[in-house]
């Protein structure tokens, strides 16, 4: 089962990976704020770009992977950059600024997330004041994502097996039914998980059945 993209490079061992997660997070957030709110000059952009590239190299993150992640925002970026010159005076300045900000932000994001183990990230988020509820939900999403993908894949296979060659129309109906069943399975799973929690002493003061 492909669980690669989540955790792909976070288990590597480089100075960046080993860096104190609190400091890493602080620097990361500071950088993002800086990039989004300050007017970036070309020089800053080039230096930051160079610095990030060096960090990526130290962290041994493959170039292809970085490009793929950046490509996510490319269509949007190109769309905007085409439009800006059409109506703004300072066309290239704004377009360039947008480009610079978007690129640096996304590179920082990718660097951060591929050098930080997810469970560690959760702990750090909690320590900077993200509400416990949100951290717990993040934890569940991470934990059960692959279980759900597996169920979805099996259901999809079942739908396809019963409609060989048929395309959109049937798949639509199938899609919604699959999702309906998946949400019910999720609900039932949550009941069992709650039971498992109770059996390991989780006590919220609520009355039993």
């Amino acid at each position: 089962m492909r669980h690669s993209f989540f955790d792909k490079y976070s288990e590597l061992d480089t100075p960046i990976h080993r860096m104190n997660p609190k400091i890493k997070l602080a620097i990361f957030l500071f950088f993002l704020v800086l990039v989004s709110f300050l007017k970036i000059h070309l020089i800053f952009f080039l230096i930051a770009l160079g610095l990030l590239s060096v960090l990526f190299a130290i962290a041994r993150i493959p170039f292809v992977f970085i490009v793929k992640r950046i490509a996510v925002i490319m269509p949007f970026l190109i769309f905007i950059i085409i439009f800006i010159p059409l109506f703004q005076d300072n066309t290239w300045a704004v377009a360039g600024l947008t480009f610079a900000r978007a690129l640096l932000s996304i590179m920082a994001l990718v660097l951060f997330i591929s050098t930080t183990r997810f469970p560690q990230l959760l702990k750090e988020l909690e320590s900077i004041g993200v509400p416990k509820m949100i951290v717990e939900i993040l934890s569940f999403i991470y934990r059960y994502f692959f279980v759900l993908v597996g169920e979805l894949e099996r259901m999809e296979l079942a739908v396809k097996a019963r409609a060989p060659g048929k395309k959109h129309r049937l798949l639509y109906k199938g899609f919604s039914s699959m999702l309906g069943m998946l949400i019910i399975h999720s609900y039932e799973r949550s009941e069992r998980v709650y039971q498992a929690m109770q059996l390991r002493g989780y006590d919220d003061g609520r009355d039993e059945e």
Partner: protein, 203 residues
């Protein structure tokens, strides 16, 4: 529409973040007050479901595809505030893991998908609670959310207003229809197989 980092200007970022985070703080407070801790596994697993479902591509004409948000579905099943909290969590994770949406633009995206999608969606739904109103709420909020995204970009001087409205509005029109149909269909399946899922305590 998930707006990545770097696309909005300072004033837009400040306004959207303050507005959305205030609502989120309220939602967290309400959920803490109202739900006992046992609802966490439920919220968590349903969040996982919506997160997964958002990744599915629904084929549309011409090789393009649309995605559902599940905003109204969450609002109907768990209520507006818990729905907002879940949506916020999903947006955060999407930004971190897939670079879908950004960290600094979190407020803007939460506005478009959470405040509009979940809260306003719930408001429309509760005018007269039925699967039909849920579907209508889904249709409307997907469009309005997209329009808000367009407004944010225009207000930031990144897109001319008219172009923004037309492109965002039309691109998401079909997405709205799909969301309406799928929301309706899922609610029907739940009603048939496990109707008690629709009778949960909501907040």
């Amino acid at each position: 529409m998930h707006i990545p980092d770097g696309f909005l200007d300072t004033k837009t970022l400040l306004i959207t973040n303050v507005f959305s985070l205030a609502w989120l703080a309220l939602a967290v407070k309400k959920v803490n007050q109202h739900f006992t801790a046992y609802k966490i596994p439920l919220m968590g697993v349903l969040a996982s479901f919506v997160f997964t479902a958002q990744l599915l591509a629904f084929p549309v004409i011409g090789g393009t595809s649309a995605h559902i948000t599940g905003a109204v579905l969450l609002a109907v099943i768990l209520g507006p505030y818990s729905g907002l909290v879940i949506m916020a969590t999903i947006l955060l994770l999407q930004a971190l893991l897939f670079q879908h949406g950004g960290i600094i633009t979190f407020g803007a995206n939460l506005l478009n998908l959470g405040i509009v999608g979940v809260l306003a969606g719930y408001a429309i739904y509760s005018i007269r609670k039925s699967f039909y109103t849920a579907a209508i709420a889904a249709l409307i909020t997907v469009e309005v959310g997209a329009i808000c995204g367009a407004l944010e970009l225009a207000f930031s001087g990144r897109l001319p207003l008219k172009a923004a409205l037309i492109s965002m509005g039309s691109a998401n029109f079909i997405a709205g229809i799909i969301e309406a149909f799928v929301t309706f269909a899922i609610l029907q399946v739940i009603q048939k197989v496990r109707p008690d899922l629709l009778k949960l305590e909501t907040i």
